[in-house]
Symmetry: C2
């Protein structure tokens, strides 16, 4: 299959490019290095010393014999997106090419606008180019479980059937996102449903949980490793806890730590994307996959991380700090997750197994985390 990956240079995009290539797919991709720039902007870097995209492509060619086709450019430029999609004629487009940070979007008005506009315009440009050149191609779009928020109801996969004042209808489940970034993801979900309605674009809208870990079988040497963010802006819960443990920093759940979310190991994220790609929707179908393995509270994660860290001689002290976000710290969380298992998804890595890979690997990069230690503690506040 010809697959085009938007955001090829990212945390997920880079390992997915290699993973899909080894499964025999022909992979191309786009990136404009926004992630590298924004992490630099906020004063941090990847714990792993990632190579430039050019070096990565060469290293992968050398290690595997495989070629990846790469286009450097900005998804928010419609003519560029149009040209690249027209040229590649992919069977599937995997859209991971967005700014993925809630705190980044909460810095100020300019970061709010940049996150919403960059992400939405890039997505719109892909939709219009698909309509024009590859109307039957499958769009696999990365959304987030955070789109749903934490309602006092079970969370279905995208839609629910309800009765209201004696009448029934099947409607999109109301989203209650918790940051300007999460809002943009919801806006894109709505835009995508509309593109599906008017043009019949086939799509899988993936509501992914928080991904953790830094290793996949394709990373046979360090030139092929993916990025690993640990700062307050781009580092997510488990990954940040691992980095904290490695440099002797307290593990810092925010607030009471009862916030519960779905989580997924990096290599199982690859598995899920691959299942969706190789089992595409029907022509003109729009489907929503909730994509995670297990749900955990933040306190639970901190405790599990701490326990594994101690096996490696690390202290792993836990310190619940003031929550910079405005969010429920104790709440119900019962999301459905049936569509992917129905297609064969079986998690291969337990949280503990993944932690046993991540923590020792990360200890090799202790100095890099130490050098940007200041970027870990939260300074961006939701109510400011």
């Amino acid at each position: 299959m010809k697959i085009m990956i938007m955001g090829m240079d990212g945390y997920l995009g880079w390992p997915l490019s290699m993973y899909l290539t080894e499964r025999g797919h022909e992979v191309s991709g786009i990136d404009n290095m926004t992630r590298r720039k924004t992490v630099t902007e906020i004063g941090s870097w990847s714990a792993t010393p990632i190579k430039s995209i050019e070096e990565r492509l060469a290293a992968y060619k050398k290690a595997s014999g495989n070629d990846l086709t790469f286009y450097k450019g900005d998804l928010s430029e419609s003519s560029f997106v149009d040209l690249a999609i027209r040229k590649e004629q992919p069977d599937c487009i995997v859209h991971l090419g967005e700014i993925p940070s809630a705190p980044y979007s909460m810095i100020d008005v300019n970061h709010c606008n940049f996150t919403q506009m960059n992400n939405m315009v890039g997505h719109n440009n892909i939709l219009f180019a698909m309509k024009e050149h590859v109307p039957n191609t499958h769009l696999l779009k990365l959304g987030t479980m955070g789109e749903y928020g934490t309602p006092n109801l079970d969370i279905p996969e995208g839609f629910f059937e309800i009765e209201y004042r004696g009448r029934k209808d099947k409607l999109p489940f109301p989203r209650q996102p918790g940051s300007w970034y999460h809002l943009a993801k919801v806006h894109e979900t709505w835009n995508l449903m509309f593109a599906n309605k008017i043009w019949g674009i086939s799509a899988t809208d993936v509501m992914q949980g928080v991904v953790h870990g830094l290793n996949t079988p394709q990373m046979v040497n360090d030139d092929l490793i993916t990025r690993f963010d640990f700062d307050e802006v781009f580092g997510t819960a488990i990954n940040r806890f691992c980095a904290q443990a490695v440099v002797g920093h307290e593990l810092t759940p925010y607030g009471k730590g009862g916030q519960t979310r779905g989580y997924l190991a990096l290599r199982d994220s690859m598995q899920c994307f691959t299942i969706a790609i190789e089992n595409p929707p029907k022509e003109g179908e729009y489907r929503v996959f909730n994509q995670f393995d297990e749900t955990y509270s933040v306190n639970d994660l901190a405790e599990r991380t701490s326990k594994v860290a101690q096996e490696y001689g690390l202290e792993g002290k836990i310190w619940n700090i003031e929550n910079p976000r405005l969010e429920a710290e104790e709440h119900r969380y019962e999301p459905d997750m049936k569509h992917l298992p129905d297609l064969g998804f079986k998690p291969t890595m337990s949280l503990e197994e993944e932690l046993h890979i991540t923590i020792p690997k990360l200890m090799e990069y202790k100095d890099r985390i130490e050098a940007k230690r200041e970027s870990i503690m939260p300074k961006i506040k939701w109510t400011n």
Copy 2:
């Protein structure tokens, strides 16, 4: 009360500025003339020969003795919005300053992006400036009944209580908008709910029906008249039918003509806004008003317009043409409308009364409509 009107030069903004001033409020406003430019871009103009904003302000001063404070500038520039709001310190901001056209947003990728970005960024900039300088000010934001779409359920005012799998919650009613423009309105509704949640911004989110008519008591001479669009892009159902009747063009409902929407006379729109302004929400409250008078099908509107047109010697022939839009042409439509009547809203103008004002007034401008007759029939198609 100090009131700031975003979009002061527009169809609603201009008459509302005069209306509120005569009620004793101190009115300022912003506009960057986007509406004039976009109507020119698509090859049309206002049926009424409106004056420049500078001439309008002078004419209003001369006619009433009242001053309006005007800032020319772009709401999508955050520093400008910040400065103007800081300087004015309004008690209420009425946000009408957006591109208001579904067809315009459907022209191509650039018009889609421009509509969504212009409208969302302007709205974000207002929210951030309010948080910074006037956190207790009331934001009266213009949304549209079109945000809801046409579900097979009653349409509540913003929220509904539902039971799902045995559990209850009060949730935002799911929106199913029908154009890139309507989608942007929904995105802003979500952004506004979030600003209310994190910063306590008090807001009235107005889901307004289609406004028609061209006259308010403040338009004592033609220098004070508001714009009146009749082209396929900016002209809405009743107004376009009136213009068609005046130049002997068939009245053209789209498709089967069973599309049903809420409608409101221009002067009753002024009344509704005033009620919301003078009965502000509680501190930190976010409320949704469905704002219309009666619901009509498009066929019904065409027949009513035709009947009144015939009284003025016009033919008023009706011709149901192919629908350029993708929308249900026969559907249930039962929206609630209780919040405004609870605060005292009483419609003053029936549809027929308003038609008896609009059609003869418009006959004075027959030549201007004739000159842009080519702009009336739809060329922008939803599925293209």
